[in-house]
Structures are given as C-alpha cells and as structure tokens.
Amino acid sequence: MKLFVRAAAVAAVVGLGLAACSANNAGGGSDSGAPADGTAAVKAKELTIWSNSADAPYVRDAYKNFGQKFGVKINLVEAPADDLNWVPTRWASGDRPDILEYNATALFWSLNPAANMIDLSNMPYVKRSGDIYKNAGSFNGKVYAAITVGPGQFGMYYNRKVLADAGLGAPKTFADVENICTTLKQKAPGVSAIYEAGGSQFPAQIQIIDYLASVESQQGYSDQLLAKKAALDDPQGPFVAAVTEYKKLQTMGCFNGDATTAKTEASYKALADGKAALLPQNTSVLPQLTAVYSKDLAKTSAAIGWATPSATGATAAWSPSYNGTWYLPKTGKGDRESTALAFLQWITTDGYQAYLTQTQRFPALSGAQAAAPTGLVQEFTNSYAGPKALAVNSNLVGFSAQFPTIMTGVLSGQYTPLQAGELAQKALAQGAKAARMAGW
C-alpha cells in the first residue's frame, strides 16, 4: 500500500510537471535551420498541407504540379471554409502541417508566429512584393506569409437582369442599396434585394466591411482604432453608423426571409436564379459562383456583375486572399522544412508565371505578366484599380474573430447597433492586450 501511495505521488508530480512544461512551450516546434533565403532544396518525399475546402482550383493545381515535378507526395488536410476555429484549435493542440494555407490578417497572430513559424523575411519574393507586407502577413516587422496572388476584395455580386429589369444600376453607395431595395419591393416583390447568409456567420460582417471601406480609405479608421484615437463603441462613430445602416436595411425588409439561418452554399444559386439581387461576398468565392454556371466564366459574367458600394462612394475593401497565401510552421523536421521552403521558392519563381496565368488574378509579385482579365475578373481588376482600402477588420486583433458572432446577434435582434459597438470594442481590447500591443 505504501508503495502504491508513493508511486501515485511520484506519478502525479511528474504528470503535473510535464503538463506544465508542455503548456509553456505551447506546441512550438524547433527551428531545423533550413535556409529561408531562397536556397532550400527538396529533401523530403512527402508534405502535409492544411488547405481550405473552398480552395480555388489553381491552389490545388499548384500542389499537384509541385508534387509531380519534384516527386513529392502531397497530403492535403482540408479545413472547412466557414469554420474560423478549425486552424487555431488544431494548432493549439500542437498539431502542425508542413505548409499552412491561411489568412494573412491579424487572425494569424494568435498562432504565435515568432515562436511557431519560419521567418520568411529574407526570402527573395518579399522584395518583389511591393509594400503588401506592411499591412498583411507580417508581425512585429517580420514576414511570415507568402502572398502570391493579388488581394481579394469585399463587395457585392449582383444579378444583372434583376437590376436591369427594374431600371436599376450597380450600387455605389449604401444609399443606392436602399434605393435598390425600395424599388425592387415595388417592381419585383418576390426578389430579395440582399441575400444574407447569417447561418454561415462569416457573411454577416461583409456589409459592414463594405460600408466602412470609404471611411478606412479617407481616415485610416483601423489605425485610429488600434492607436485608441477612435473607438468602435462611439455612438457617433463610423462602426455604429455602419451597423445602424445594416439594421435599417433589415428593418426595411431588404434581406431574404431566412437571413438568420441561410447558408452560403445556397446563396450563389439564389443570386443566379434571380431570387436575390445583391450578394455581399468576397472575390475569392468566384469559383463557387461559376460552379452554378457549369464553371463557365463568360456565362457567369454575362449574368452576374460586381460592385463595391460603401458609405460615400464605390470603394473596394481589399484583404489578402487565403488562396495562395502560405505559412511555414516550424516542425523541427529539417527535410520537410527544407522541402516546404523549396515549394515557396518554386511557386514564386520558376512556377510563378504558369501559376499566375491559371489564377486569372493580378500578380502579387513583380516579374510576371497577368493573363488578360475578362468578365468578372476584369471587373475585380477595375475595382481594385479604383478607390480602395484595407478591409477594416483585417488587423483589428481579437475583434476580427468575434465580428461574425456579433453581427449575427444584430441580425437576430439580440443586440442594438450600439451594443454591437460595445461588444466589438471589448473584443478588440481583449485581443490587443493578448497581443501585447502598445497602449493596451
């Protein structure tokens, strides 16, 4: 019996000690020393990649082409596109892929990049990327992401025929959106002006991002928020105004009847079928939209248009796309880290032109020629060439993760716009404090 008690005590102490140590390490892998300067070689025969279920075809083809060219077997693990918690929760458990496909917004800060990711600041592609890493994919001055295609944009897809039949044009402001709603109620009562997919949570934030694009462009709103020169809960501030406008549109009956439960999967068909006139979304969902038209971009573009309405004028809210944005976690496995670095080197140099042509997007890196854009892609290019601003939530750490939940609360009537502002400000404070940002 004494022996048992002693053994139990020793086991408990050892267990507590081990668990405490592992918590402090937070699952961080060691750096294997593979050169992150563009000279890494393919050494492993296998790579594990955490991808996204809504990957564009060109992303999957990039993996396939690299695998075939270098004889590397690619194991894809898919994260559900609408589950923002999938990567962080797996990451927190200590699980690591060799390559992580993820957002280049403040969301990746919670993965503790300084401890867990390879510093890519000296990779040659960084110098060919302009100043994108000032706003995205970096933390505390170090680059951790490889952003390989031009940013995605938030805006609204619209059904050309529905608007044309009612004598309406693409919206440039939210006043235009209100007008579309009012007119359609009279001329096409069976059509919802806006398709809101609140059941998928993520889309519920897009109209606010759209609305605030011009404010961000004119005032640098998110920088003011991070510097505490503005607050999301200011009753007279832009955020509360944006949510108030959103609520007004809902109260006017501009949303689909099932706005609180509708899912994104159903939204593309609803727009294509003319059951909704406007679909707030991101340019990155173009593959899902074209899928409704048998993957025919020309056919899709003939039926669907792209608009970037904001508070005061057409302004694109851009955000780095998770499609073609990669991080390299430290795994401590030298051969695999080297091979993952070689993948980045290849996709940003020898493989880049073919890859870029297939993406049909404008390049994020200099030295390559984009394919001549057509149809909707041309519209994306045009809107990006016009007035634009970084999507307001991109670097609002803490807030960006809670934003969809807060907005579904507004949608369901649980929160007033001011309450939403208060919750948003508190979420920002929690995140900024955790990220140890100056002044928080």
Binding site: G15, N112, G199, D258, S412, L423, K426, A427
Partner: protein, 316 residues
C-alpha cells in the same frame, strides 16, 4: 418454536438458551490481500492522467493570461473572468446553459417515462419500437445537428408540412433566440430519449408485481397505481436519468455546434461553445476560466441534486 439465526450461521432452538443475552455480532474485518493494488493502477493512471491532472492544471490556467499570441504565461488574477463578464459572455453562457439543461432534462424525462409506460411489456411490437426509438442514440450528435438543421430550415420539411395547414409558413426556428434554444432542447431529448426510456423500462420492471396486484385488488385505478406505487419505486431510475440528462446537457457542445454554432448571436451560446470560441481565438486562459465555470456548475448543481434524489430514494 421460534428460531434465531446467529451471525455465524448456526441455527438453534430458543428453548435451549436461557436467559437469552443478546450478543453483538462480531464484525469480521476483511483480510487485506497484498496484491490488490496492481489492479487499480491502470484505472488510476487513466483517471489521474486524463482527468485529475488536466483539471488541476486548468484551475491554474484559469487565472493566467495564457494565449496563443505569446509564450509568456503570467498570473492575472480574475482578469479573465472580468473580461468575459465585460464582453457579455459569462453570464449569458451560464444562463443559456442552465436553461438548455433544465429544458432538455424535463423534456427528455417526461417523454422517456411516457414511452417507458407504453413500451414496458416485452412483446414483439414493443421490442420493435424500443429499437426504433433507440436509433437516434446511435447517430452521431453532429449528424443529428445537421439533420435537424435541415428539417427546421425556413423552407425545410417541417415548415413545408405546416404550410399544408397554414400556407406560406416559413418561420426560422433556429433563427430566433428563444425558439432556437427550445428546438435544441427538443433535439437533445430526441437524441437521447431512447436510452433513457430503456432505463425507465428496467426501473418499471423491477417494481414487484404483487404490489401492483394488491393495489388493483384494493381498488386503485391506473393513475393511482402509477403515482402512488410505481413512480415512488422508480426513484433509483429517476435519480440516474435526471442527473445524467441534466449534467450531460450542461456539457453540451457537438449538437449545438452542428446546429446553431451558438447563434443567432449568442442566443444558444452554451458554456462549452463559448469556451471553444475563446480557445479558437487563441485566448486559452479565458477558455480555461470558462472550463472551470463548467466544472463548478456541475459540482454546484450535481451534488445537491444527487443528495436530494438519493434521500428521496430512501424515503420511497
């Protein structure tokens, strides 16, 4: 001639023992065998490794600023709880969890007891229905959530059926806070009622038949036989089902995540969903705080509930 049975088991006639002095029975202490403890080690290691140690560590982390943003973990007192209260997460989640748990427990037990009374007799038809109602127990909670999410959609089968009587009916059952919570409780009840029904059937079958027959002869009607005899004697089964359904519902996660993800807003944001969201946002300290709240809630509710129900068993 009366007989007395002594502890040792000898039976003697009373006439040969006078005067009779009651002898206190000698309790023989069970002999301890030296080799018992190896049998307990595997269970001990499992419980210690997967429950006790994580639980103790979690208490510590609940009062730290542990997050995914940094390697440094510092003690921060009650900051996590303050932050959760400030953000309207803590009290809202406790309220939602308690409402959900009580509703789920009531619906599950009321439905299951009714089903048990109907299906108590063992015959082929009842056997079929017992199996039929047990099927949802075998379905994964996530799958159940998706199935019911589709059934309750505004243009789903339920509303289509109601539309036969009330054309154009398209109420979003999961899109309004109150109805979403009630629906979740019913889905939980649907999921687990088959199992609880079996427990109640076992309880009903353990009620001595002569008691029922005697009550019938004495003129008790079916309701009186149920309420005055069978229900009190069901106390052990009731204790088990009430406690497991209630505490099980407090730990709800997968069903809610698959059906509403805690929405709309935070209307169905039970504690485990709130914890998952904090964890997913990289706020591990706050997630640990919520985990501690779940544990405290289970203890604070579970212990008095079990004590009360066990006392009731004795009285019954």
């Amino acid at each position: 001639m009366s007989e007395t049975t002594y502890p040792a088991g000898d039976t003697v006639t009373a006439d040969h023992r006078e005067p009779e002095i009651p002898v206190p029975p000698k309790r023989r202490r069970p002999r301890r065998r030296a080799g018992w403890w190896p049998f307990i080690v595997p269970a001990f290691i499992l419980v210690a490794g997967f429950f006790t140690v994580p639980f103790l560590l979690n208490i510590r982390f609940a009062f730290t600023d542990w997050s995914g943003y940094s390697d440094v973990i510092s003690f921060n007192g009650l900051d996590n709880f303050r932050s959760l209260i400030d953000q309207g997460i803590l009290w809202q989640s406790i309220k939602v969890t308690l409402l959900y748990a009580v509703l789920a427990m009531l619906v599950q037990n009321a439905f299951s007891l009714s089903m048990a009374l109907v299906l108590q007799r063992s015959d082929r038809i009842n056997g079929f229905f017992r199996s039929f109602f047990f099927l949802p127990v075998l379905i994964a909670p996530v799958a159940a959530g998706y199935i019911w999410g589709a059934i309750l959609a505004p243009h789903g089968p339920l509303n289509n059926f109601i539309s036969l009587f009330s054309p154009g009916f398209d109420y979003a059952w999961l899109g309004h806070g109150t109805s979403a919570l009630i629906c979740l409780s019913f889905i939980d009840a649907w999921k687990w009622s088959g199992l609880v029904t079996l427990v109640y059937i076992a309880g009903l079958n353990s009620v001595p038949q002569p008691l029922i027959e005697a009550a019938t002869i004495d003129g008790a009607n079916p309701w009186q036989r149920f309420w005055r005899i069978r229900f009190p004697l069901l106390a052990p089964a009731l204790t088990f089902t009430v406690v497991t359904t209630m505490l099980g519902a407090i730990n709800a996660f997968d069903l809610v995540q698959a059906t509403t993800r805690g929405g709309p807003g935070t209307a169905t944001n039970v504690l485990n969903i709130a914890m998952f969201n904090q964890y997913g946002s990289g706020f591990f300290g706050s997630a640990s705080s919520l985990n501690l709240v779940v544990t405290i809630l289970v203890i604070v509710l579970g212990l008095p509930l079990i004590t009360y129900l066990r006392r009731r068993e004795v009285e019954a």
